[in-house]
């Protein structure tokens, strides 16, 4: 009987195999080596607004423009572009002879249709004052209702990806990923795996790599192990604790590249606690940034004395190193009316305790430990901060209903390669979901709007804006970020894009 029941179960297992949909790809074309990318970022469906980050990184989809290492726009599917003197009409001339993966030609109408789709979706383009997106014979025209200088940077964001007309169904939903990039989709299995193969009709030089796969492994330790044991060729987003170990592996080269993502403490400036700028300064003075960066991030250079890391040239301020000054912090708190109560926790004149709640989330695994470090550090100046670990959506929601007191979060200032686009969202009057809360500054608003107009001195305006943010501290910078990448020594020509827009697979070759 056991044998019979085993037989039934075995048959079930065999029957279940074909349901996997496809035979293992390696079996289909033996000899063609697959470059295996392992990363923690899951993807959801074929819509570029949701999963475009993976399509762009794997070289499947392309945008009209790309970004150079300084974040300046460079040609991609658009060969050149121009702006009318009033800043309202942008013209992007398409690269001739480009074909989509289904063989259809890239036309201005196809590009305009993709951009109209992006404008209707939850994408950076939807936040741009677009009046119309039109097509001429060889160019896409974007008409704005008011000037918006960083538009080219918005078009370099993955959500502005250009897909073939056949990629959309009648209702305008994306049904398939048919892009123009050096690689095309071989197998698309969201949320965990994407297999791509070389697209022989690409407009650029023929890539040396024939096939590649993208596998999501959310556990940092598992990713490190896959790199170490040779199960991954390109391993992204290494956790700081595993970097030192992987550096010792003869199989791997480990690169760490600063990325423009800053861990910040968002404060509700409309609340009892943080309305006073002196209190915000006291909090900033109480943070042991060096300690956090050294112990939790394993790199003291990640201590953030300002919002913008040195790589964001133009926005980064020349500044002294971050320092901790508890004495000064206590003085500022006392000036603001907070004095130690019987249990050491501060109380104000009306005997209200300085007990606040900090919300954070687990998408970035270092955030909860940083939050608990801050909890201990704020305790030293008499602030009782509790930590709530939840979902990232708790922050925009708490912002909207006003219940958020503090939030520890990681904010990418170059999701659109020009930080201005993110800053306009985050620090608009009254604040933004992922920026200031209950705080406005007319001078900052003027500086940011001067930057989005076509005239003026952008360098001075950027420094002015960064200076205001450092002085007023609507959010407190804690630590900058770096991207750790483990590269198999079997690969040659790997470079890391600090904006994480592409893994540049088309530049990579097998070294052995």
């Amino acid at each position: 009987m056991f044998r019979r029941s085993l037989g039934i179960l075995g048959t079930a297992a065999l029957l279940a195999r074909p349901a996997l949909g496809h035979a293992p790809t390696a079996a289909r074309r033996p000899g063609e080596r697959v470059l295996r990318v392992v990363a923690p970022f899951e993807f959801a469906g074929p819509d570029p607004a949701r999963s475009g980050h993976v399509f762009a990184r794997m070289g499947v989809g392309e945008m009209l423009l790309g970004a150079d290492p300084e974040g300046r726009p460079v040609p991609m599917l658009a060969e050149c572009w121009s702006t009318s003197p009033d800043g309202l009409l942008h013209r992007f001339v398409l690269r001739p002879g480009v074909r989509f993966h289904d063989g259809s030609p890239l036309t201005a109408e196809a590009a305009a249709a993709s951009l109209r789709h992006a404008h209707a979706a939850a994408s950076p383009l939807s936040r741009v004052p677009v009046a119309a997106i039109e097509a001429t014979s060889d160019a896409v025209l974007i008409r704005l209702s008011r000037p918006f200088a960083p538009l080219p940077a918005v078009l370099a964001n993955y959500a502005s990806m250009i897909l073939a007309p056949a990629a959309y169904d009648e209702a305008g939903r994306v049904r398939a990923v048919i892009g123009t990039g050096p690689f095309r989709v071989e197998r698309f299995s969201p949320p965990l795996q994407l297999d791509v193969e070389r697209f022989e009709g690409w407009w650029g030089p023929r890539p040396a790599i024939g096939r590649a796969s993208y596998l999501v492994v959310s556990q940092g330790e598992a990713r490190a192990t896959m790199a170490e044991s040779g199960h991954a060729d390109l391993t992204m987003a290494l956790q700081p604790v595993t970097v030192a170990r992987l550096r010792r592996s003869p199989r791997l080269e480990v690169l760490t590249v600063p990325v423009p993502r800053t861990r910040i403490l968002k404060l509700n400036a409309a609340s009892l606690y943080f309305a006073d700028q002196r209190v915000r300064h006291a909090l900033s003075l109480a943070v042991d940034r060096q300690g956090i960066a050294t112990a939790l991030l394993r790199n003291p250079a990640m201590a953030a004395d300002q919002l913008f890391p040195p790589t964001l040239q133009g926005w980064h301020l020349p500044a002294p190193p971050p320092r901790r000054d508890l004495g000064m912090a206590r003085t500022l708190l006392a000036e603001a009316g907070w004095r130690p109560g019987p249990d050491g926790i501060l109380v104000d004149a009306e005997r209200r305790r300085f007990a606040c709640r900090c919300t954070t989330y687990i998408n970035w695994p270092e955030l909860p430990p940083i939050a608990t470090a801050l909890q201990a550090q704020f305790r030293e100046i008499g602030i009782d901060m509790s930590v709530v670990i939840g979902n990232s959506s708790d922050i925009p929601r708490g912002h909207r209903d006003g219940t958020l007191e503090m939030a520890l979060m990681a904010r990418n200032y170059a999701l659109v390669p020009d930080p201005l686009v993110t800053l306009l969202q985050d620090f608009r009057p009254g604040g933004g979901d992922w920026g200031a809360m209950g705080w406005s500054d007319a001078a900052l608003d003027a500086a940011l709007h001067a930057l989005s107009a076509p005239e003026g001195d952008p360098a001075a305006a950027r420094q002015r804006a960064a200076g205001i943010l450092r002085e007023a501290l609507p959010v407190i910078p804690i630590a900058w970020s770096e991207l750790g990448v483990a590269i198999s020594r079997d690969l040659a020509g790997v470079t890391v894009d600090p904006y994480e827009t592409s893994y540049r697979l088309h530049d990579i070759a097998w070294a052995r």
Binding site: A12, L14, P124, L192, V217, R397
Partner: protein, 321 residues
């Protein structure tokens, strides 16, 4: 005569047919109700799951709310689901936009493949050891097995999986700690599941065998001169198998619980992994679809277990008539 026919054959069959329908309705309603009472705003959750933290803001949530009609009353949304279920349409995932049925088919394939390896593996590990232990209750094999079983049941699947990864992936470098492409990727997640299940099935098999081994009919079989092999195979195994088969059915509960953990740990794109993500994202159609699939599998397995037990033990069928 007609009455007896109805009682004897038609009613059990009808019961079996009504059961899945009831399960579908209850599971769907429960999934809906539980999602509704969870804290957090569904539109914000969905926006975060769709667009990631950087793009998941109130504007994205407003678009999601408008697109999906999330501000409709809960009752309307639920009736909408029931209406579609009648037409065998499970709807679309609110996160990916893909049909739930299509996603479920793929995920169920991966999960059944993993379960299809883990269950026989647990039987291979647990049953012979249980049999050995049960033939000599209190002997050294029995004692060692007891210790091992307690240990393996006490360690959560998550910790057990990490231990296996540490040994087989990190220390020896034999097996990948994640992925789902070939047989090597099956080993660690299947073993993690199988060890936990084997610990229990070994104990049940041991007790069952011990009871049967000490029973008068075994002694009688020996007295009447049957060779030991025939005694164990014909009288021992068959009688000891009944509780074990029933347990294998029950183990499905443990298997689902283990799958949720193991699939998340080993990045396995199965139904457990999908369920966890759908709950976090408040992706109600996926939660309902997944729960429905699991519920129907329970019903199916229970029916199969009943059938198997009736086949092994004809007394049951007779007693029921």
């Amino acid at each position: 005569m007609g009455r007896r026919f109805l009682d004897r054959f038609l009613r059990p069959v009808l019961m079996r047919l009504v059961q899945p329908l009831l399960v579908a309705l209850i599971v769907g309603a429960l999934g809906f109700a539980l999602m509704a009472v969870l804290p957090g705003d569904q539109a914000f959750r969905l926006a975060a799951a769709r667009y990631g933290p950087d793009m998941g803001d109130a504007a994205a949530a407003a678009l999601v709310r408008q697109e999906l009609g999330l501000d409709r009353p809960w009752a309307v949304q639920f009736l909408d689901w029931v209406g579609r279920l009648v037409r065998l349409d499970l709807g679309h995932s609110l996160v990916t936009g893909e049909p739930v049925l299509q996603e479920l088919t793929m995920q169920l394939g991966y999960t059944l493949a993993l379960a299809g390896v883990a269950l026989p593996l647990s039987a291979l590990l647990g049953l012979p050891l249980g049999l050995l232990a049960g033939l000599q209750p209190g002997g050294p094999v029995d004692r060692i097995m007891l210790g091992l079983s307690v240990l393996l049941r006490a360690v959560p699947a998550y910790a057990l999986g990490l231990c296996l990864v540490t040994v087989f992936s990190i220390h020896f470098g034999w097996l990948p700690p994640a992925g789902f492409e070939g047989w090597r990727e099956f080993v660690l997640p299947a073993l993690t599941l199988a060890l936990g299940l084997a610990a229990l099935s070994a104990r049940v098999a041991r007790d069952s065998v011990a009871v049967v081994a000490a029973s008068p009919f075994m002694a009688f079989a020996r007295w009447k001169g049957l060779p030991e092999r025939a005694v164990v195979l014909r009288h021992g195994l068959r009688n000891a198998a009944i509780p074990v088969i029933a347990l294998l059915g029950l183990q499905l509960v443990g298997l689902v619980e283990g799958l949720v953990i193991v699939e998340s740990l080993f990045s396995w794109p199965g139904i457990g992994h999908a369920l966890v993500h759908a709950i976090f994202a408040r992706d109600v159609p996926v939660v309902q679809g997944t729960a429905l699939a699991l519920g129907l599998i329970f019903v199916l397995v229970n029916a199969l277990v009943d059938l198997a037990c009736a086949l092994i033990d004809p007394r049951r069928a007779r007693a029921e008539t």
